[in-house]
């Protein structure tokens, strides 16, 4: 059994993983209390000749205790989660300096429009690659996510990023990779018979390598 999350590779992966472990500990304790309690009661209070069950209808004190403890725990958890949620998904939380991308999901491909050397979308040096997203390390990017036909979901496990792509909507998704290398992008929302094949790769380059790669791509496409 594996309860340890695989390595994260984005700036907020650590925050999400921390919350996960906090919940794991809290629920782990509750799990042990209940399961061991059930087991203990089952053994200790099994029917035996000559013993009668205690006649009781309950205890107000016990009810208050086991209402209050979960209530306080979930409120604390909610407050902790709220901050991280706003940081990751809040509409105002996209960093201003994020490099913009446009991703169009369609059955069963990801069409990734890169901003080109000028770092801006909707300029002539943009270029679109199928099933590949190239990005620099240690710099936030924002993906303007759209879908052409049905709902897809943009899922990069290592970045702890997941966002549905909805036809008729454009949804900004930002993240900042902290490691260079190749990562997998998967479609996480059932989108038809080729859903399981709707993968792509995310290539995270060092800054200078990314600049030269972008320049080469743009040059190749203007010829």
């Amino acid at each position: 059994m594996q309860w340890i999350l695989p390595d994260g590779a984005s700036t907020f992966a650590g925050d999400i993983d921390f919350l996960y472990y906090v919940i794991l500990v809290i629920t782990g304790i509750a799990f042990l209390v209940v399961e061991l309690g059930l087991l203990w009661f089952a053994v200790k209070y099994r029917a035996r000749p000559g013993r009668r069950a205690t006649y009781t209808h309950g205890s107000l004190r016990a009810e208050i205790v086991w209402t209050a403890i979960p209530a306080v725990s979930v409120v604390v958890l909610g407050l902790m989660s709220g901050g991280v949620w706003n940081h990751v998904k809040g509409r105002d939380s996209v960093p201003a300096e994020a490099l913009p991308y446009r991703v169009l999901a369609r059955q069963f491909e990801w069409h990734v429009t890169h901003p080109g050397p000028d770092g801006q979308l909707d300029t002539p040096d943009d270029f679109t690659i199928r099933n590949q997203l190239h990005m620099p390390v240690d710099r936030p990017i924002v993906v303007h996510l759209a879908a052409e036909d049905v709902i897809h979901s943009f899922f990069v496990p290592a970045f702890r990023v997941k966002q549905d792509a909805v036809p008729g909507m454009e949804i900004p998704v930002w993240f900042e990779a902290t490691k260079a290398g190749r990562f997998e992008l998967a479609c996480a929302e059932l989108c038809g018979l080729g859903h399981y094949r709707m993968g792509a790769e995310v290539m995270v380059h060092a800054a200078d390598e990314f600049a030269s790669w972008t320049a080469a791509q743009a040059a190749a496409r203007t010829q």
Binding site: R106, Q107, F108, E109, I129, R130, N131, G192, L193, G194, R197, E201
Partner: protein, 252 residues
């Protein structure tokens, strides 16, 4: 009890639409076609010419499918325009007028489209209404085959393994029914569905031939996915021969 069955019957009928009928009529038609004798012994021989410089075909980035990419020496391209020595291939030609009344026999050749190296082979083909089109996959990876017709009923099926085949019957004449693969967005094929067997596709040398016709004058139409349609006329004489040619020019 009877009321319940009535409800089911009605619902099923509503839900199924015309699918069942189409399949049934298709089966019956092909059974009679198979036994019909040809209308004649004449043959139209034709040639499709191309003038000017053929446009370059788009490159296909096949890196994600090494299995397919390995089949091509260099950069694979999408064979939209295939021109060789001034001859244009993949032009679909059919008889549009001058035919005697049917019924018509079914073509001798069984139509088949194969998926090899993440491209359709052939790219352009014709089938007769009611005739089974065989779709095969020779690649050991997933292709889906989505037909996007306008008058026929569409379908969207998959073949995740090499060696899989399935058949499909179109029941309405339609020029052309596009086939596409959504896993490999570049993959395109075109099926011309004709309600008679008098059609052909130009070869790499630009030639085509349509046989089994009695002497007479026929109108023809040629179709190319990039350059559109052209019409022509041909007469098959008493010797059973008629020749025709179409000329496409590079669009500026």
């Amino acid at each position: 009890m009877r009321a319940a069955w009535l409800v089911i019957g009605t619902m099923t009928a509503v839900g199924c639409g015309g699918g069942g009928e189409q399949a049934a009529s298709g089966g019956g038609e092909s059974a009679t076609q198979a036994t019909l004798a040809p209308l004649g012994t004449g043959t139209i021989s034709g040639m499709v010419m191309f003038t000017g410089t053929a446009p370059a075909n788009p490159a296909i980035d096949m890196r994600e499918e090494p299995h397919c990419a390995a089949m091509y020496g260099g950069q694979p391209t999408d064979p939209v325009v295939v021109v060789k020595d001034g001859h244009l291939a993949n032009v679909f030609v059919r008889v549009t007028g001058g035919l005697p009344a049917g019924p018509y026999p079914r073509p001798a050749a069984a139509p088949k489209v194969d998926q090899v190296g993440c491209l359709y082979h052939p790219r352009v083909l014709g089938v007769m209404t009611g005739q089974a089109l065989t779709i095969a996959n020779s690649d050991s990876l997933l292709h889906n085959i989505k037909a996007v017709p306008t008058t026929n009923r569409g379908f969207n099926v998959s073949q995740p393994r090499a060696g899989m085949t399935r058949e499909h019957v179109f029941n309405q004449a339609e020029i052309m029914v596009p086939l596409e693969c959504n896993v490999h967005g570049w993959m395109k094929a075109y099926v011309g569905v004709v309600d008679h067997p008098y059609f052909a596709v130009s070869s790499e040398s630009g030639t085509f031939s349509i046989g089994g016709l009695p002497p007479g004058t026929y109108q023809l139409e040629a179709w190319h996915e990039r350059f559109g349609t052209k019409t022509g006329e041909v007469t098959i004489g008493a010797d059973g021969k008629g020749t025709v040619s179409f000329t496409y020019a590079a669009t500026s």
